[in-house]
């Protein structure tokens, strides 16, 4: 049985926007599953439907074994959510927020206290837990939000952009917390993000969604492979050597990128390198430098979302996204 399975899940907003369009997902128990997509792709809308905050226009889904339409109360009891927006009450302390939420799930006080203690330790919030949330820093608030979704030991946890607006260090700390949570609780985690590194670092499978549709699904490695493998740069001592090598390695899609350097594609350079080098050796060619660039999700994303972008106004959001992606790479 899947932990989350959707059946043509669809949401049209009243303004006519097709936010989610016939999505079919199958997420296994214990997975960290990434939903990757640009702004406005429909990630939050999907999560809202799966957590019963929003009714689908068409289709349905099963979450933790329960139908999101017919058994919404049971779904809510068995899932935890960390929404995109902050939800803690700023006038209450961290611990008061956590205890309040655990009462929503009828967790007895003793058990709640126990699991809260454990979670607070897990995300290093011990020093701040008795302070009003209004005094927390952005990173502390995100950590609190993370464990607010976990006080009732849910089977499935939804994380909607859990590291939005955090600095690089805090973000990688959050990743560690998320991994620890997954391991300790053996919980299924569905994570949305438009940070590629985040999905790459955390998820064992992912779907890229764009304009409400699933564009591609697979493990990060599969998706990277689907791009056509490693990109290898070979630099030679003389220009004419580079020219010759480019000619010999035509079957590897070789192209000259500078006077002395050629670029080739190899599905897996760690395997192909011996053959390639021996082919070159036969012509007395020996590169002075070899650079292998593993394909990143970045390349995958550009391949599936970026290049198909028509230059329309309606897509300004996705274009902003790509710009941001580039900024991130630098």
């Amino acid at each position: 049985m899947y932990s989350v399975e959707t059946f043509n899940l669809t949401k049209f907003y009243s303004n006519g926007i097709k936010a989610v369009d016939k999505i079919n997902l199958q997420i296994n128990e214990g997975e960290i599953y990434g939903l990757l997509g640009p702004n406005g792709a429909g990630k939050t809308t999907t999560i809202k439907m799966l957590t019963t905050a929003l009714k689908p226009t068409e289709g349905t889904a099963k979450v933790a074994g329960f139908d999101i339409i017919k058994e919404s109360m049971m779904v809510r009891r068995n899932v935890g959510i960390v929404p995109q927006d902050l939800t803690a009450d700023e006038d209450l302390t961290g611990i008061e927020n956590l205890l309040m939420v655990s009462r929503f799930y009828n967790v007895p006080y003793g058990r709640a206290k126990e699991s809260i203690d454990r979670l607070v330790k897990l995300v290093d919030l011990k020093d701040a837990i008795n302070k009003p949330v209004g005094q927390y820093s952005g990173g502390m608030r995100r950590r609190l939000e993370l464990i607010m979704g976990l006080v009732h030991n849910p089977k499935v946890l939804f994380l909607d952009e859990p590291t939005l607006g955090l600095d690089v260090q805090t973000r990688s700390l959050m990743w560690e917390y998320i991994r620890n949570i997954q391991q300790l609780q053996n919980i299924t985690i569905i994570l949305t993000s438009h940070y590629l590194e985040e999905v790459d670092a955390l998820s064992n499978r992912l779907s890229i969604i764009n304009k409400g549709k699933i564009v591609v699904t697979g493990t990060p490695e599969e998706l990277k492979k689907s791009i056509g493998g490693d990109i290898v740069m070979l630099t030679f001592k003389y220009g004419k050597e580079a020219l010759q090598a480019a000619d010999i390695l035509k079957s590897y899609k070789a192209s000259r990128i500078t006077e002395l350097t050629i670029k080739i594609k190899s599905s897996d350079f760690s395997k192909d390198s011996q053959i390639i080098l021996s082919i070159l050796k036969q012509s007395n060619l020996e590169p002075i430098r070899i650079q292998v660039e593993k394909p990143s999700l970045d390349t995958v994303f550009l391949e599936y979302v970026g290049r198909s972008l028509p230059e329309e106004e309606g897509d300004s959001d996705s274009r902003k996204m790509m710009l941001m992606m580039r900024r991130l790479r630098r």
């Binding site: 957590t51 019963t52 905050a53 809510r76 927006d85 803690a88 209450l92 008061e96 929503f104």
Partner: protein, 267 residues
């Protein structure tokens, strides 16, 4: 399953922890007494008729305290609606909506929170009025049953107004909208009622309208009890009639609020 208790506790905590809300909430009834109780004393011009105008009350504060208690409920009830909009704005509402609790308990916790505030405010109002030199003078036969009925009346009118403003807030996303509605509704409710003036001093058409106003029902119940203490048969029937109007209207408004909350509340 309900979530009503933890959410109501949250409301009350937020109230007493916020020094400004707390102090303002406590000062408000005292201002009402100072302003309406002494500055507006309608018998000052014609002291010889005062017994007639005040329906037998020994002084104006005794006459008007039921009206002030009711108006306090009217104005504090509005916070129930305001707090729903705050929760939507600041985020907690989305957490509540994702939790396995009844949606009506989200709204009813605001109603109960505001009602607790109202009860505390009215208690302070009565204590202050009793301590004031020419303040509230209770009659000889005043007894525990009177106290109980007054408390019940304040509870009902508090729930009624808090529900009313919560129901309005269920679909509203902007603070300004509810402020506008409150301003539009509160003054007519307050002045087209027997809260501040007896019926025989009002223009006949307002006097007629006022009998359908819950503010009048609550004010008249408290006034009758506070002035007379031990009630005659006719006074009992006035109190009971008004109490029945109040109870049935409150139940109706609460039911509508619950149904609206279950169906309509969203982020």
């Amino acid at each position: 399953m309900s979530g009503l208790i933890p959410l109501t506790m949250r409301e009350i905590k937020k109230w007493y922890r916020n020094p400004i809300f707390f102090v303002v909430g406590l000062l408000q009834p005292l201002f009402w007494i100072a302003l309406f109780g002494s500055a507006f004393d309608i018998t000052r011009a014609v002291p010889q008729y005062s017994f007639y105008i005040l329906q037998g009350a020994p002084d104006y504060i005794t006459f008007i305290i039921g009206g002030i208690a009711t108006t306090t409920a009217l104005f504090t009830g509005m916070f129930a609606g305001m707090n729903i909009i705050w929760d939507r704005r600041l985020g907690p509402l989305s957490r509540f909506l994702a939790s396995p609790i009844r949606r009506s308990s989200i709204v009813m916790s605001k109603v109960l929170g505001a009602t607790v505030r109202i009860m505390v405010q009215v208690l302070i109002l009565f204590v202050a009025a009793l301590l004031l030199p020419s303040g509230l003078i209770l009659p000889k036969g005043f007894n525990i049953i009177d106290v109980f009925i007054i408390a019940l009346t304040v509870l009902l009118i508090g729930i009624l107004f808090a529900s009313l403003f919560s129901a309005i807030a269920i679909r509203i996303t902007r603070q300004e909208t509810i402020m506008g509605i409150v301003n539009l509704v509160n003054l007519p409710l307050m002045f087209a009622s027997y809260a501040l003036f007896p019926k025989n001093l009002m223009a006949p058409w307002i006097g007629d309208i006022a009998q359908y106003n819950p503010v009048s029902w609550s004010a008249v119940i408290i006034r009758t009890l506070v002035i007379n203490g031990k009630l005659s048969g006719a006074q009992w029937s006035t109190v009971l009639n008004n109490l029945i109007y109040l109870i049935s209207t409150t139940i109706l408004v609460v039911l509508i609020t619950i149904i609206l909350a279950e169906k309509e509340i969203r982020n």
